[in-house]
């Protein structure tokens, strides 16, 4: 009897299709507890095992993995890579469920410029480029982007619905400016190839827009969105040089970018298959001390004794771990929240189709990316959305506290409320929301940072065979910078160990 009643009510609910389903989920990949133990220098267990190895790489994100890739390719195999998290990859980590694999942070790489030789080398190895020609299968399919504006979706992110003649004029002028910047050759990837001390680094992107008469609210939203997306910060907190770099550094005419269901996790996976033997995960380095000419690197089960060390973990951690570390000043990091939403059915929509990147105008968050977008099937029934939210509005410390104080239910509601503006039936579609909180997700290129002496000091730091390699040294947290920093550090180590193929930069 009960079952019949339940059956009937289920039928009725099915008919009305308004019933909200139970949405499960949790916080995942939490690392702040460990981070706080490092910060507070809480006691860690003493290692019971000793290992002697010439070189240790600390940090298994894209910088550390690129170091390993370079060392291995150069024939240098005597090193260990230590990653604190259970899974390597850092901002290029990924997850998987029964519907799809999906990214936890970085989810694309633009088609590399001609001068991005390292990226090209790796991409040839991974089959993304064939003799310089792109493999279309891995380029982002059409439609790439759409924007929810004035109650409807439009193609592309540049607001078009309701744009006035003045808005459009300013778009064109802005593009002209960017074209000139691009032609000047200063905005390179990696940035150190072309960057010179620039007055643009001393003002904010918002100031630059203002000084150049860009008053269009649409254009300002668009540029601000780009800064929030790439740097996790508002245009008013980002140096104009970095803001312009986003628009002026890409030369490729082909429609990109490269993307995969698991985002840059696709690259991580492939690097790991080559490099797994060097990588040790769940290995928290809590102390690095000098011991004569050698270094003692302490984790909870093993103590490593090494001649040299590459610090590829986020640089702000160095003072808490590394004895006699140089001062790390001026490094500001953006707090982020990423959520992966499993959808058991797609929201009802009319008009243009779901794109890869879907953005809601005037939302505090950045929108969502569809994990099944690169699927070859002409239709999918279930999918995973990766929802990005850089907490850019308030000061990082304040946002970080908010991020950690509020529980999962609070963020779940915030995410669903935001999405419901464009998808009123979203709550009937989603079955699971997993949320990853990152207090220090990426470095901010604040005005003055790129030209700062602190950044230069740490970049060139080479005391006692210790080198820094994290992408935060570039002030721009992108795949190419991480790879460049990792490879540069590897080359410096190789010079010390003498096995080195010195690299020649163009």
């Amino acid at each position: 009897m009960t079952s019949r009643r339940r059956f009937l009510s289920a039928g009725l609910i099915g008919l009305t299709a308004k019933a909200e389903r139970a949405i499960t989920g949790s916080f995942v990949n939490e690392s702040q507890a460990l981070g706080h133990r490092l910060r507070d220098r809480t006691s860690f267990a003493k290692p019971t095992r000793q290992v002697k190895v010439p070189l240790v790489v600390v940090g298994g994100g894209m910088a550390g993995l690129s170091t390993a890739w370079r060392l291995d390719k150069s024939g240098f195999h005597d090193f260990a890579l230590l990653e604190m998290a259970p899974q390597a990859g850092g901002n290029a980590r990924w997850g998987e469920n029964e519907v799809s694999s999906y990214p936890w942070a970085a989810h694309y790489v633009p088609i590399p410029n001609r001068k991005s030789l390292l990226v090209r080398e790796l991409f040839e190895e991974l089959g993304l480029l064939h003799d310089g020609k792109v493999e279309e299968r891995h380029l982002c399919f059409s439609p790439q982007e759409r924007l929810f504006l004035h109650g409807r979706w439009q193609e592309d992110l540049e607001p078009a619905v309701g744009a006035t003649a003045e808005d459009r004029k300013q778009y064109r002028e802005f593009e002209n400016h960017m074209r000139q910047f691009r032609a000047a050759g200063e905005f390179t990837i990696p940035i150190d190839l072309g960057a010179k001390p620039s007055p643009l680094d001393r003002i904010s992107m918002a100031d630059w827009l203002h000084q150049n008469g860009f008053s269009s609210p649409y254009l300002n939203w668009y540029v601000n969105y780009a800064c929030r997306d790439d740097y996790g910060a508002l245009a008013s907190n980002v140096s104009a040089w970095a803001g312009i770099h986003y628009f002026a550094s890409r030369e490729n005419e082909d429609k990109g970018p490269f993307t995969w269901p698991e985002g840059n996790g696709w690259i991580t996976k492939r690097l790991l298959t080559k490099l797994a033997r060097y990588v040790k995960t769940g290995a928290t380095v809590y102390r690095i001390a000098r011991d004569g000419r050698r270094l003692r690197i302490l984790t909870e089960d093993t103590e490593y004794s090494a001649e040299a060390l590459i610090f590829a973990a986020p640089t702000f951690l160095a003072p808490y771990i590394l004895e006699g570390a140089p001062a790390v000043r001026g490094f500001e990091y953006s707090p982020w929240l990423t959520a992966n939403l499993t959808l058991d059915r797609l929201p009802r929509e009319r008009g243009i189709e779901m794109a890869w990147d879907n953005v809601i105008y005037d939302s505090p968050a950045l929108g969502y990316v569809v994990a099944t977008h690169q699927n070859l099937s002409s239709r999918v029934d279930r999918t995973v959305w990766t929802y990005y939210w850089s907490l850019a509005e308030a000061a990082p410390a304040h946002s970080r506290r908010l991020l950690l104080d509020k529980d999962w239910g609070y963020w779940k509601e915030a995410i669903l409320n935001d999405l419901a503006r464009a998808h009123p039936d979203i709550r009937t579609c989603v079955s699971r929301i997993d949320i990853m909180r990152m207090g220090h997700a990426m470095v901010r290129p604040t005005p003055g940072f790129l030209g700062s002496t602190e950044r230069k000091t740490l970049t060139n730091y080479s005391v006692g065979n210790i080198w820094f390699a994290n992408s935060d040294l570039s002030g721009i947290s992108i795949f190419e910078e991480a790879q460049y920093r990792g490879v540069s550090a590897a080359d410096r180590a190789l010079r010390v160990f003498g096995g080195a193929a010195a690299i020649h930069w163009p």
Partner: protein, 498 residues
Amino acid sequence: MSVILFLSVFLIAACGLIYELIAGTLASYLLGDSVFQFSTVIGAYLFAMGIGSFLSRFIGRGLVARFISIELLVGLVGGFSSSLLFLAFAYTQSFRLILYLVVIAVGTLVGLEIPLLMRILKDRYRFGELISHVLTFDYLGALGASILFPLVLVPKLGMVRSAMLFGIMNTAVALWSTFLFRDQIGPRAALQAACLTALVALGLGMAGAERISAAADNNLYADEVILSKETRYQRIVLTRWKDDIRLFLNSHLQFSSRDEYRYHEALVHPGLAAIPEARSVLVLGGGDGLAVREILKYPGVQKITLVDLDPEMIKLFSTNPMLTRLNGNSLAASKLRVIHADAFPWLGETQDMFDFVVVDFPDPTSYSLGKLYTTVFYRALAKHLSRQALVVVQSTSPLFARQSYWCIVETLKQAGLKTFPYHVYVPSFGEWGFVLAGQYPYEPPAQLPDGLRFLSARTLPELFHFPTDMLPVDVEPNRLNDQVLVRYYEREWRDIAH
């Protein structure tokens, strides 16, 4: 009093004939062969009326109440008859059985009506007068109905609502009979309540039918919608007007039975006839079995693989008698292997090689369909081509959508294939384009299978000539990361529509 009485006779007669006409018309719509359908439906109906008349003798007491109940039943069964038959056609395999059951049920009930009514009235009129009056109005009603049906009802109301309208009339007769014969029935509240319920049901049915047909985009279709099915993948709609059956997928015309032979002969034979050694053929899309019908004309072909996403489509075209007649029951062929899969991922998984491939997808109206027209798709397809193989791609209209057409040609070229574009005239589509593609130069075949209605070996080479207004234009190839085709297509067809 007597006017109303004989008006009732008039209406009853009209209703009876309408149900018969509806059953006959529906049967010939859905099954074809109208002479056979009408003869058997009328025969069964008249025979059932005889049964009804015979049965009327067993009704003794409570004549009026019985008469009213029968009126109600006729109203309900007749009123919902056409909806029932449409549903039976769409959702069951036993349309014929249900058709004749409905005809016999309605006929029997209608056969009961007049004898009962005459017995009710026998004390009010002289016998001769009664017979004369009743039969006069009976035949008048039949005349009215037979004129109204083709001129007003079918064109304005459609089958479903016409039946319901006349069901309402039967029920109305029942209701006012409770007043007309109030001194002959006794307690009548229950009967009146039943009448009102039936009226409400039929009224709702009529309103609902309007809504259902609106949902079925009935206004989009010029002809009667005879089947409308929402599957997991698409909306399948069949329409029929006289002998013209049309298939629409998501509101896009796929074929008209009057001229589909032009389309399907042109799709298959220019390519397949040019490969005498072809043994294994692949059809992507084309769940209607019409391309397969043409391929079966080659005894040398030993294996046909049909990949279609929608199992409902295959089921429909392999079980519905009207449709199996159209495709010659090709989906039941022993050489045929049917695979329900999404073509693009399937190509990545299969190891099979083919000598001829028919790519018959819906037009690239969306990015998700546009994927099936990209360089990556054609490259994936090319990996499954034997040395001499040819591919033919249905490629929208080179006249209405010139850029779209030449974009498909360019995309095949970019995928490393040689292309041989051609076009034909299909009245229901207009000028239509195809592209043959392969590794080697193409020579039109010197011989075609027997029994073709459109193509001949002599005229075939002419298809490859393009008049000036369809000549190639400068276009980009369609790539997964830059689907220009969907944008060309959208713009070109929008310009035509405006």
